[in-house]
Amino acid sequence: MRVTFTVNGRRQEADDVWEGESLLYVLRERMGLPGSKNACEQGECGSCTVRLDGVPVCACLVAAGQVQDREVVTVEGLADFAKERDTGAAGPGTDPGAAQRWQPRPAGPATELSPVQQAFVDAGAVQCGFCTPGLLVAADELLERNAQPTDADIREALSGNLCRCTGYEKILDAVRLAAARTGTEA
């Protein structure tokens, strides 16, 4: 079947989608957007977290056909998504071609990061990085809802995201840092 939906602000089509396929598979294998990670395929790890009509969900548990005509934001679109939210202006979304060519250390000008992404870098919250995309999407949504979260709020919001490397302390630091930075801007 064909599935048409909005990915990171731009309308996309996927063809020959198997009816039992997950949104995660469509993003990674059909759209070439491997930012959302596939670890458990059973909702346990959160590394596939994306926004579906604004709501954080595990992409591995959404059937591809369920996203027809709906809006998905992945980690690849997070920087543009955050910018559009901050400026309040609808932007062009994220170019999927550029997203597919994304590199951690680009040769050219550095990629623009969202405040949460920058905070993860600055706080040293990334080790192997496998859990990072899901955590970024979940943390960004938390700060959108609650600009000054308590530690309990942060733990609760990230309780569906597993990390095998960091021991979580630096991840908590990163979210606190992102919150503090937006707090001083306001």
Binding site: G20, E41, P56, C58, L61, V62, G65, G160
Partner: protein, 295 residues
């Protein structure tokens, strides 16, 4: 495989009548795990995400009619006052991502004995609104669970909503697991005091082939509270009464040994949860009575 996307409730019912083997998918948090792991290969998936009626709820005089697909997150945010037991249980389901998608209708559809909705539905009193093109029936929730992961739905039926009695007194939910987030219950217990009728109701999860009420425990406690005049006296429940209630709850379960826990542990845990939830709800009842009298 076919993927059906009805836009309305009528279309969904027609599709289910035409394809009785179609597997409904709401939040997908049970269905997609089964498909991802090839445990299930339905010939037809029936997507309910577009059927907006299933995402709404109505608060009536006596009951809340909760749309089958309303995610747990909404139950927690919006219905904590009317359905405190269910909201407490919903808080313990999975993780935020799971609660954003998973629903009470899906929990009932899956009918796992470990489903967290079941104890509070049993304790509050609830009816499942099962609908097909043939008509609508209201199934008391205790009759809805027919076996391990089996329910009373006919092949052409869908769950439209659950009618849950609004709380007329304190309710509690307690769940034993290995950690706080993302845990399937080793066993669970729900308790609701019903001061309006001077009765108590319970629900046991994960300690029998289906979720069950602890009938003899309910009868005992209801009688004991009456005989000792406790609803009016403002006194605490005597420890001997609490102990016997807890023993009867444990006796009503028929747990098994499995990877999550032994039968003996489950009985023990049920005893502890029964005693604690009774203490919590009774304290709250006394507090409410006291403030009502002072006001």
């Amino acid at each position: 495989m076919d993927f059906l996307r009805p836009a309305t409730w009528e279309e969904a019912l027609a599709a289910k009548a035409e394809h009785p083997t179609a597997v409904p998918i709401a939040g997908g948090t049970d269905v997609m795990v089964e498909i991802n792991f090839d445990h299930r290969r339905p010939d037809v998936l029936l997507d309910l995400n577009r059927v907006v009626d299933l995402y709404e709820w109505e608060v009536g005089e006596e009951t809340v009619r909760l749309g089958a697909a309303v995610p747990y997150t909404r139950v927690i945010e919006a219905l904590g006052r009317e359905l405190p037991g269910l909201a407490l249980a919903a808080r313990t389901v999975g993780s935020p991502q799971i609660r954003n998608r998973g629903s009470v209708g899906g929990n009932l559809g899956a009918a796992s004995p470990a489903g967290d909705s079941h104890p509070p539905l049993l304790a509050a009193g609830a009816e499942v609104e099962a609908v097909s093109v043939r008509g609508t029936r209201l199934i008391p929730v205790e009759e809805f669970y027919t076996g391990v992961k089996r329910n009373a739905l006919a092949p052409d039926e869908l769950i439209r909503a659950v009618h849950i009695a609004k709380a007329d007194g304190p309710q509690q939910f307690s769940k034993v697991g290995t950690r706080n987030a993302m845990v399937i219950a080793v066993c669970a217990f729900g308790l609701a005091l019903h001061p309006a009728t001077r009765t108590v109701r319970t629900g046991i999860g994960s300690a029998a082939p289906t979720p069950v009420r602890a009938g003899t425990a309910e009868e005992f406690l209801t009688a004991a509270l009456e005989e000792e005049g406790l609803w009016d006296s403002g006194r605490t429940v005597p420890p001997s009464v609490a102990r016997q209630f807890a023993d009867l709850v444990a006796a009503c379960a028929s747990p098994i040994d499995d990877v999550r826990g032994s039968a003996a542990y489950r009985r023990h845990a049920l005893r502890v949860m029964a005693r604690r939830t009774l203490g919590w709800t009774w304290d709250e009842y006394l507090g409410n009575e006291r403030s009502a009298r002072c006001a």
